[in-house]
Symmetry: C2
Subunit: 266 residues, 2 copies
Amino acid sequence: MPREITAFSNPLIKRVRELRDKRHRREQRQFLAEGLRILTEARETGRLPQTLFYAAASAGHPLVNALSIDVEAAGGESIQTTPDILSKLSGKDNPQAVVGVFDEFASSLDALERGKADIWLVAERLRDPGNLGTILRTGDAVGAGGLILIGESVDPFSVEAVRASMGALFTVPVVQAEWSEFVPWLRSGPGQLVGLSLDTESDYRAARYASPTFLLTGNEAQGMPPNYAAECDLLVKIPMLGKADSLNAAVATAVMAYEVLAQRRG
Amino acid sequence: MPREITAFSNPLIKRVRELRDKRHRREQRQFLAEGLRILTEARETGRLPQTLFYAAASAGHPLVNALSIDVEAAGGESIQTTPDILSKLSGKDNPQAVVGVFDEFASSLDALERGKADIWLVAERLRDPGNLGTILRTGDAVGAGGLILIGESVDPFSVEAVRASMGALFTVPVVQAEWSEFVPWLRSGPGQLVGLSLDTESDYRAARYASPTFLLTGNEAQGMPPNYAAECDLLVKIPMLGKADSLNAAVATAVMAYEVLAQRRG
């Protein structure tokens, strides 16, 4: 097993580099996560990379050492490499100290325990990986039970989404489902489906939320389809005082989620 | 004056393409904005591009026509071009229907009328153009008087920031200032400086905000320096129930701003 790789032409480097591409992630069922903060968060939640790359200059860092030891103890591989190769793997000029290759994990609707959280996040056809990661990060902060991605969504395992999640990909369960699967599952137990809409007079601060609340955010450009809105138990609006008619999707989700949290906390 | 450009080698195309680069924006004191929605918003606030590029396929669109007529009436130039050249200008595979070249505009602290708004946004060493644009978009929505960028900040006129602002760059005044200029200006009139901090027991929902409120958001990675926190009239925290110790900077700003707005509205 290689312990040190310094050649760009190494086939493992080529294979790992390909994980920046969705098609290769699907084929290999693995994804990349970068940075000591994110990998340490993953480790603390019990998720270790199959392969860990670290720069020679980081070899003495206690968190890098701890990661390296745990990865090898779990049967993975820990590889010292050069800053240039780390740059190539991460696609950034200033590479992080570590890059990890993780096996993909996915949850399913049936695996979610809706009673374990007051707030669940549901996003429809989310397009922007930064928004997806930011919504996961907010989900972690408000104690959300998980994020349910409806329809054709950006890949939660993309490098950009993992980066924007700041590690929350490892702490907040993510499920991908069709609307036709989600609705029967939702209606099979308690849960209030709350949608953000422009076509309502109900202010999000005046509304009262039931537990568990499922907060539905529509597509960034188009909002949610009418039949989705019709399925909601409650439609609310966030006041918009300016010229714009919508907030960023991750911002709208966070403003809503913190209102629900505030009501829960009393 | 050219009315149609189809050659990549055209010197104007080269010069406009260079506006994607900060150094060239500084030299030329111009910037790019893309998309019919953003350019129409700009037009409605009285800002027209010096040069408007539109695809031949969009020539019949009423909003494109309206822009084109106004640009030429104001002494600017309206240029029909190809999708490939629009792609090159915008750096996106799917180009927007229109790209505009605007003269940079900047406000100064002394030009701000603090009495005209209850909420002002202040961001310290903001690094991410998407965060900057998203904060402007939130600022528009909450009726903020402006965004004051403290210290070494990402360029508000970068293509990514303009795009993320969804037009709010044209509706929300932006000022760049040093902390050493900002504090004397702030203290020369009414205003409560409120900072987000991890080192306080004061919950953001329990705190009471005075008008005008200046909401200070610290750098994405490091938060705000201790002397900035010491200058604040009030430090508050947003509850974090998960593993992460911070929210995305644009999310934290929005959660705070909507709380201030809710208190103002009753």
